[in-house]
């Protein structure tokens, strides 16, 4: 960084932007691939059960598996439409 760099203040470099984007993307992609094989099936079954009672669409159900320490947390989100 030359003189101009010193005076222009701390601007985020493009390499830092690349790193940040990659970290977000890759952690997301790893989560998808490291999830157990049953997650998509579980999501479909839950959707079927909820559908019996409420009209919801596929994207209203999200299933995630997070790791916290040595335990895994299964997170279910069902968004119910209003009314």
């Amino acid at each position: 960084m030359g003189l101009f760099g010193l005076f222009s203040g701390k601007k985020k470099t493009s390499a830092a932007a690349a790193k940040e984007r990659l970290q977000i993307l890759i952690s997301h992609e790893r989560q998808n691939r490291q999830g157990p094989d049953f997650l998509p099936d579980l999501q479909r079954d839950i959707l079927d059960v909820v559908k019996k009672y409420v009209a919801i669409r596929e994207d209203h159900v999200s299933v995630r598996l997070d790791r916290a320490g040595d335990a895994s947390v299964l997170e279910l989100n069902v968004t119910l439409p209003e009314n």
Partner: protein, 271 residues
């Protein structure tokens, strides 16, 4: 037992074939009987990088199909007596590489006394690439310090960790990260991911950093693995990488900018 070393990346054009040729030549130079195999069926290029394109009579697919013996298809390198090359076929049929056929050829190479089998994987995640990954004991992940290359390398790591033979048998493929086309000046200016950034993101042990170098094109022009050019930074960096692969501890070279004059530093960063 032969050790299978697969050179892979996911993305094309990052330096897999250059690295395969250099690593195989480096292992042979270190005294190990080594064979390097081109898995890019339909688009072979390893023969050209190794300078044996006019000596290919039979190829990998011929051997799998039983149309030639392994000894007929192996091309002995003229520079290094420990090194042989097995070219890919130029037929378009990627399905020619069956798991059984490839496995059989690898077993036969081990019986012939080869210590290292270097597999030059094609780009992508189709059959040639998955076959090259399947039998890997070690994988060298070739990555450019650039977003799409890093992302594709991570996908390849995922495949190695779930679909390779070792993974399926409950084991693990030894993973090594090789960063190529590295430009320390651009890294210092914040225009390029640093080797630390790439290691952080991929979480794989770094085996070497190959600087962006004119020597690589020069080597491919003449059909000699760049590692043989020991006057070049890239050649020396590949030698270091192979030494590290074989267990030696060597410091990284060519990873900081060459010292600039005071004046050019005051006036402004790089080019």
């Amino acid at each position: 037992m032969a050790t299978v070393v697969t050179v892979t990346s996911g993305k094309g054009g990052v330096g897999k074939t250059t690295s395969s040729a250099a690593i195989a030549a480096g292992l042979a130079q270190a005294g190990h009987r080594t064979v390097v195999i081109d898995f890019d069926v339909g688009l072979r290029n390893l023969d050209l990088i190794m300078g044996v394109e006019r000596r290919v009579v039979f190829d990998f697919v011929n051997v799998i199909a039983g149309e030639a013996t392994l000894n007929q298809a192996l091309i002995q390198d003229k520079r290094l007596e420990n090194l042989s090359i097995l070219a890919a076929s130029q037929t378009k049929d990627k399905d020619a590489l069956t798991e059984e056929g490839v496995g059989q050829v690898l077993d036969e190479l081990a019986e012939l006394g080869f210590e290292y089998i270097v597999c030059d994987s094609p780009a992508g995640i189709e059959r040639g690439a998955t076959m090259a990954l399947h039998f890997a004991d070690h994988a060298v992940i070739v990555t450019n310090p650039e977003v799409s290359s890093v992302r594709d390398s991570d996908r390849i790591l995922g495949i190695l960790q779930s679909k390779s033979k070792r993974a399926k048998e409950g084991g693990k493929v030894h993973e090594h990260l090789l960063i190529t086309r590295y430009d320390p000046v651009r890294v210092e200016n914040g225009e390029m991911l640093s080797k630390e950034d790439v290691c952080d993101i991929l979480a794989v042990k770094l085996i070497g950093v190959i600087p962006e170098s004119k020597a690589v094109l020069k080597a491919s022009n003449t059909g000699a693995p760049v590692i043989l050019d020991q006057d070049s930074d890239a050649g020396l960096a590949y030698s270091d990488s192979v030494a590290r692969f074989l267990g030696e501890d060597r410091p990284m070279r060519f990873v900081t900018p060459r010292k600039q004059g005071l004046l050019s530093r005051i006036l402004g960063g790089g080019d």
